[in-house]
Amino acid sequence: MEFNLSDNTTMVADTARRYLKDHYGFDTYMQQLNQLNHCDPSRWELMRELGWFGLPFPESVGGYGGDLIDVAMIVREAGAVLCLDPYVDLVIGPGKLLEYLGTERALKVLQSIVDDDERVACALYDYHAGYNILKPSLSINGSKLSGRKNFVPDGGCANRVLTTAMLGDELTLVLVPLEGCEVTRYRGLDGSRLADVLFDDVVIDEEMILSRGVKVERAVSKAVAWLQALDCARMYGAASALYQRTLDYAKTRKQFGAPIGSFQVIQHYLVDMFTDLQQLESMLFMVSVKADLDDTLEREHACSATKAYYADKGVKIAQQAIQIHGGIGVTEELDIGHYFRLMTYCSLTHGHGDYHLDRIAALGEECDRG
């Protein structure tokens, strides 16, 4: 067993850290908070130039054949600087979905994401179906798509949307231009841009249906595993930043004539944050390898364990960071509270703690039977 990052991954991470530090941070974040628009085109182009768009995709579509861990290290750094640009939602999410479908048509779309600034959002959730990605409420009846998707990340900024829908009892993946849909934009808790998309009897031709049945189920399940791992990577970046800022604050903030970090209770709070952070890091390494496994049981177990652990400890670190900061920690002026929002947000995407604990319990039974 070996936990070192490869030279290549280290380089990707270092480059990402430098780039993100130069172009992001609290000021950029606060600007973005006040826009419902997509990210700055020049920053978007820079990401492409850094090779991030093609990073985890096959060379055949213009990618570099990188691993999940490479992307995870980027997303970790992005979390640490509160980056709101939709790299994961408009590139990695749809990209992995298309790659796992693997049909010619899908790969062509993927290639256009990598090369041509095609913007495809993923619509996997609606509030009726909740976290059950294999049984969306949206359905195709008589070649018409009707119903609603919610919580579509950057759904307002994309040209097209990759949406799941039921065709009979088969899960189907449809690529729909967004012009013909009613899109309602709003902001997510973390400051990102979400949208509801209403499909009002949108006519679906065969061209738009990318695939259906077991193949789609498998592709969705594998792509979502990536997104779950990347949720945790983002949370780790935030947790790490919170810990460091809080430690620094405890060393400098004086009350009763001494740094608050000299009080034993604060010391123990910080030690708890630190030891939790170490375990969060271990879980991130683990999931960055296992979320890409073909073995469904092991993959889902790893993703659920990590998501559940992060929903618990990541959130606790953020709460404790606020408590130790005191009043200043609950203001919008300081980044602490914004990391807290990010943490809550990511603890709810792609399955919350309870969902994942239930899944682990169910997988356990499956294991026992198998």
């Binding site: 909740g130 919580f151 808790l189 408590q323 005191g326 009043g327 709810l348 995407t349 309870d354």
Partner: protein
């Protein structure tokens, strides 16, 4: 041991319930149902309505405009208020500066200030914390220099809730810079319209404007606005800390939050595992019950004219911890619906959409008014003798 409300108390409760149903503006109860707080105009309109009814300064002696209720009646009133979806009365006038004025103030001060508080006309804010005097309040630096016919105030306050709404501030200032920490502090009433006062907003992580920084530059405050004597500020501040303990636990509003939670679960159309959610609600319900009966003991002691016992000492700690737990449960139960920050229309259940704001806001409740860590330090010393 008698844990029933009397026949009279039950009648009282019914009267209040009926009145609330008729008098709470619908827009206010709609806001409360989302876990949000009203705007200034809504809040003040509501407080004036209470004031008109004589139900605003409910803890005050009758001679100053209180309704002459028992602590039990006040508890029931607060419960019905909360369950009907009305916000708590702003504490700064009624619960804080009012009692200070009628306990320590001169006859002129009582006459001048109390009526406006009891009617809801005058809005107050509290000038205690400073950038370097948070938990360590006694380190405050805002200076009030005694001149011939006024105090000259210079300095800065922070975390001043509703300073942007307030007509008046009650304020701890340092009148004697040479005295030791707790000494040399005085209690001053400051008109917020006085030249030299600047109020700057602080936005909190629920996205709203509740808090402010307040800057004082050569602000002239009449000598008459000193409450008590110079140097009595710390004594007055401590008096307030131990004053009214029967609502500090937030039981009424937690009952309301629990009811909202149950309703949201019942209405949740879909994937929420309802059995599990109800189990989690049961856990919170049990904790609320323990808090509530502890609170009842404080209420009963008050009605019997006994001093608060040790049972009241944990009310703030337990009450705020519970509020945080409940708001977190609401967010977590909401799942995807809690991802929404600013949608103008509901995405699924609107209460869940708004839950993160309340959750965020309530992170402050274990911090303000003396963080729970400070509360524990004090209890260890005062009560446990450690």
């Amino acid at each position: 041991m008698n844990l029933q409300f009397t026949q009279e108390e039950q009648e009282f409760q019914k009267t209040i319930r009926a009145w609330m149903r008729e008098n709470i503006p619908e827009e206010i109860s709609r806001i409360s149902a989302l876990g949000e707080m009203p705007e200034k105009s809504q809040q003040q309109q509501w407080e004036k309505r209470l004031g008109k009814q004589g139900w605003l300064a409910v803890t005050w002696p009758e001679q100053y405009g209180g309704p002459g209720w028992t602590a039990t009646q006040r508890y029931l009133f607060d419960l019905e208020r909360a369950m009907a979806g009305a916000p708590p009365v702003s504490p700064f006038g009624v619960a804080m500066v009012g009692p200070v004025i009628y306990t320590f103030g001169s006859a002129e001060q009582k006459e001048r200030w109390l009526p406006g508080i009891a009617s809801g006309e005058t809005l107050w804010c509290q000038g205690y914390s400073e950038p370097n005097a948070g938990s360590d309040l006694a380190s405050l630096k805002t200076r009030a220099e005694r001149k011939r016919d006024h105090y000259l105030v210079n300095g800065q306050k922070i975390w001043t809730t509703q300073a942007h709404w307030a007509d008046m501030m009650f304020c701890l200032v340092r009148t004697d810079p040479d005295a030791k920490k707790q000494q040399g502090i005085s209690f001053l009433l400051i008109d917020m319209n006085t030249p030299g006062i600047e109020v700057r907003p602080i936005y909190t992580i629920d996205g709203h404007h509740h808090l402010n920084e307040v800057y004082f530059t050569d602000v002239k405050v009449p000598l008459d606005n000193l409450v008590g004597k110079e140097g009595m500020g710390w004594t007055i501040a401590k008096f307030l800390l131990t004053h009214e303990r029967t609502t500090i636990a937030g039981v009424a509003d937690s009952h309301y939050a629990l009811a909202r939670m149950k309703m949201a679960i019942d209405e949740a159309p879909y994937y929420i595992d309802k059995q599990q959610a109800r189990r989690r609600v049961a856990e919170l319900e049990v904790e609320l019950m323990a808090l509530e009966y502890t609170n009842f003991r404080t209420v009963a002691a008050t009605d019997e004219g006994r001093p608060f016992g040790p049972e009241s000492s944990g009310l703030k700690i337990k009450g705020t911890e519970l509020q945080q737990k409940m708001s977190q449960a609401m967010v977590e139960m909401g799942g995807l619906m809690s991802l929404v920050w600013d949608s103008s229309s509901a995405v699924g259940n609107e209460s869940f959409n708004h839950s993160p704001r309340r959750y965020n806001f309530l992170r402050a409740c274990t911090i303000y008014g003396g963080s729970n860590e400070i509360q524990k330090n004090v209890l260890a010393k005062m009560l446990l003798g450690l």
